[in-house]
């Protein structure tokens, strides 16, 4: 049998993998966000290419369709100077019956320095991390976690609100099936956030209240928005709408984030959405394009966060190494 080489899901001072937010401490999260900061500046630089990871290769293994996350990781790797190996579900040998672990071992045999995994099965990155000898980054697994999304959301919130502590966070939509919601709850709860979850009851099961302290469920969106500092709108996964059946028209009627409803939140509340957004379904275009919306900042911050992660997980640099973006600017 293939030997299980390393189990590093435990919280190390310096984690080898990023499998989820749940194992991370507030200090580790703050470190990543601080490291992402100079990379935010860097995105405005006219020449967006560093040599930090020159000669390194990052495998991007996307076993589930993805556009924005895959492009974000590929761009982050490129701007650090790394090469990428791309695997997409459509073109993979999975269709020929190869198992996940055989596919990953095949990629590993080409000697990448790290692997980024998106997979429809919860726990797939954890499964892989116990069987390969390279850093594993979870780019979204099933309905489990999407840690880089939570990190980029946290960076966005910290920029706009000036803090991560003492926030009322309202999450709207299909929370049961949302890995983004889980990662956000794990992350922001490290800093003491209070959560209000709202959506059709079958998408907001009571067990969600066990994910963190200070999680409550509210049936009416108007009540859920009252006093919110941060509103996270989740995409209505219409490909999943049959399970359980919810009429889209009903959803718009009861749960769409409209300007009137947003008015019930604090005046300086911000609106986040992990994308892709469906205008006119979960969010009114006036909100998506309004001053409280952070949707495009989130996308830019995604690059900064992913560059910081790849730099630290793939380069092997010590935590106190000089920051490549600062070094370059100097």
């Amino acid at each position: 049998m293939n030997e299980v080489r390393l189990s590093t899901t435990t919280v190390l001072q310096r984690p080898r993998h990023l499998l989820g937010i749940e194992p991370l401490t507030a200090e580790q999260i703050t470190f990543i966000l601080d490291q992402a900061k100079p990379f935010q500046e860097f995105q405005r630089h006219p020449l967006k290419k560093l040599a930090t990871l020159r000669g390194k290769t990052v495998a991007l293994a996307f076993f589930e369709p993805s556009t924005r996350t895959r492009i974000s990781f590929a761009t982050a790797a490129a701007r650090l100077g790394a090469d990428t190996m791309n695997l997409q579900a459509e073109s993979s040998s999975l269709k020929k019956g190869e198992s996940l672990i055989d596919t990953v071992w095949t990629l590993e045999a080409m000697r990448p320095d790290g692997i980024v995994i998106r997979h429809a099965s919860s726990g797939a990155p954890d499964f892989i991390a116990r069987r390969v000898d390279m850093p594993v980054v979870n780019a979204g697994d099933g309905t489990h976690e999407h840690p880089t999304q939570a990190l980029l959301d946290a960076l966005t919130i910290r920029d706009r609100k000036g803090r991560l502590g003492n926030l009322n966070v309202t999450i709207l939509g299909d929370i049961l099936h949302s890995r983004v919601a889980r990662s956000n709850i794990h992350l922001l709860s490290r800093f003491g956030a209070r959560f209000t979850l709202s959506g059709p009851a079958m998408w907001v099961p009571k067990e969600l209240e066990c994910l963190a302290p200070h999680v409550r469920r509210v049936s009416r969106i108007e009540e859920a928005l009252h006093g919110a500092d941060v509103v996270i709108v989740l995409r209505v996964q219409s490909e999943r709408i049959h399970e359980p059946p919810v009429s889209l028209d009903d959803y718009v009627l009861r749960y769409q984030l409209t300007p009137e409803r947003l008015g019930l939140a604090k005046p300086d509340a911000i609106v986040l959405h992990p994308g892709p957004i469906i205008r006119g379904l979960e969010i009114d275009p006036a909100v998506a394009d309004g001053p409280q919306s952070c949707i495009l900042e989130q996308v830019t911050n995604g690059l900064a966060v992913r560059m910081a992660l790849l730099f630290h997980l793939v380069s092997g640099a010590p935590p106190d190494a000089p920051h490549p973006a600062k070094e370059n600017a100097a």
Partner: protein
């Protein structure tokens, strides 16, 4: 001849609990008594060990015919013997399904050289598809001891009524895997805080108890003998208790993994994936109470071997099931006896007269009885290693677990089929 000397003889059928010698002659027990002398006999020194009637496993999967990559009758019964079992009841979900006398006969013939007795369970419906009744009488003549569509529930209340009516006339028990497939669909673990945290699709507890409730009602309608397989929830147990209180012939079994582990123990390791899934802490507490108060009749393994290639995959893609023969008794000793939840006699009953009553047979240690004997230590310290298992499969959450108490010698029809290496009892 074999003379088992100086063991603590526990025989639930007669209420015996005494140090005695057991003399086996041929395939029968010749005598039980004090200071038996038999100069020609092979002596098994059982001092400090327990000598019990042969353990019966009412629920296992031997995978033959059809899935020999995962298990065979030979490898499965070798593992069963190592677990102290002298007879195992194999479920019909083989390939082809054991739904006719030809398949039953093939299993019986292949079992002639097995390490334990093999008592097949026949399918209730053709192909276990839940449509038409299988050839149950034909299978009965070929050797089945019960019927079940295990792996799935008997599909509808109407079919269950037919199966029960028919089996009542044949004198066979009906065993059901209770699950509402519409509620359970797509689920891979028990629905609850842990499934939400792991992002794994949950199976609600009600999926099982709804079906148990249905079956108990149909048992009341027909008067048939109903046995609930791998019962795992408090609500299911409440149905069984109520049925017993009403005088119905309803029994149930609990697996060692369900009385040992809970949903909070589940990690992304497919050796934690089985059906029914591991229940809540409260369910486990209910099962332990039921085992202690007699509501639970049987401990059964649901030994479900799967080849590593099929289990070493993403959690939601793996098949359900774990192996169980070699750890069942040790888990019962660790979790039930050493914790003082039940007595030694009750523990033996759960593996012997309990399953025997479900099957409508006797199980005892007495002169003239078949020489099926399980000898075990309550204190022997050992560590279970899946890689050393006699099973062809390795899918167990108990790999590396340390135990106090173990099967030492297993005797089937007067023949020693298992002897623990460096055993204190031999």
């Amino acid at each position: 001849m074999i003379l088992v000397k100086g063991g603590r003889v526990i025989d639930p059928a007669s209420g015996t609990d005494a140090v005695a010698d057991v003399l086996i002659d041929g395939d029968r027990i010749a005598r039980i008594g004090q200071a038996i002398s038999a100069p020609d006999a092979e002596i098994l020194n059982a001092a400090g060990a327990v000598v019990a009637p042969g353990f019966i496993d009412l629920h296992c999967h031997l995978r033959e015919p059809g899935q020999e990559i995962s298990e065979t009758i030979e490898s499965g019964t070798r593992a069963a013997a190592a677990g102290g079992f002298t007879a195992v009841c194999c479920m019909p979900n083989t390939q082809p399904v054991n739904d006719n006398a030809a398949v039953t006969r093939a299993i019986v013939e292949r079992s002639a050289s097995a390490h334990t007795r093999v008592w097949p369970i026949g399918a209730a419906s053709i192909g276990s598809k839940g449509e038409a009744l299988a050839e149950i009488a034909g299978m009965q003549d070929a050797g089945i001891v019960a019927v079940s569509d295990d792996g799935r529930p008997i599909a509808t209340a109407k079919l269950m009524r037919q199966v029960m009516d028919y089996c009542r006339s044949l004198g066979l028990p009906v065993i059901d895997h209770c699950e509402d497939p519409s509620l359970a669909a797509g689920g891979v673990m028990r629905e609850g805080p842990r499934s939400i945290r792991l992002g794994l699709k949950g199976i609600p507890a009600a999926s099982e108890s709804i079906c148990v409730g249905r079956d108990v009602e149909v048992a009341a309608l027909t008067g048939a003998r109903l046995h609930i397989a791998h019962l795992s929830t408090r609500a299911s147990l409440d149905h069984v208790r109520a049925a017993k209180a009403n005088g119905l012939a309803v029994t149930c079994e609990v697996t060692p993994h369900h009385f040992t582990l809970i949903d909070e123990d589940v990690v992304y390791d497919t050796s934690h994936k089985m059906n029914p899934p591991l229940g809540s802490r409260d369910d486990r507490a209910a099962l332990l109470d039921g085992i202690a108060d007699g509501s639970v009749d049987v401990i059964a393994t649901d030994h479900a071997p799967h080849h590593p290639a099929s289990k070493d995959v993403e959690f939601d893609r793996a098949p359900f099931g774990i192996t169980g023969f070699e750890t069942a008794m040790a888990l019962a000793l660790s979790e039930l006896l050493h914790t003082k939840r039940i007595s030694l006699a009750r523990l033996v009953e759960l593996f012997t007269t309990g399953p025997a009553r479900v099957l409508g047979i006797e199980r005892k240690l007495a002169a003239g009885s078949p020489a099926d004997v399980t000898i075990f230590s309550m204190d022997y310290k050992w560590t279970f290693g899946a890689s050393e298992s006699a099973s062809r499969s390795r899918n167990t959450p108990f790999d590396g677990r340390e135990f106090r108490g173990a099967p030492m010698v297993t005797i089937v029809a007067g023949r020693v089929v298992f002897r623990r290496a460096a055993t204190a009892a031999a």
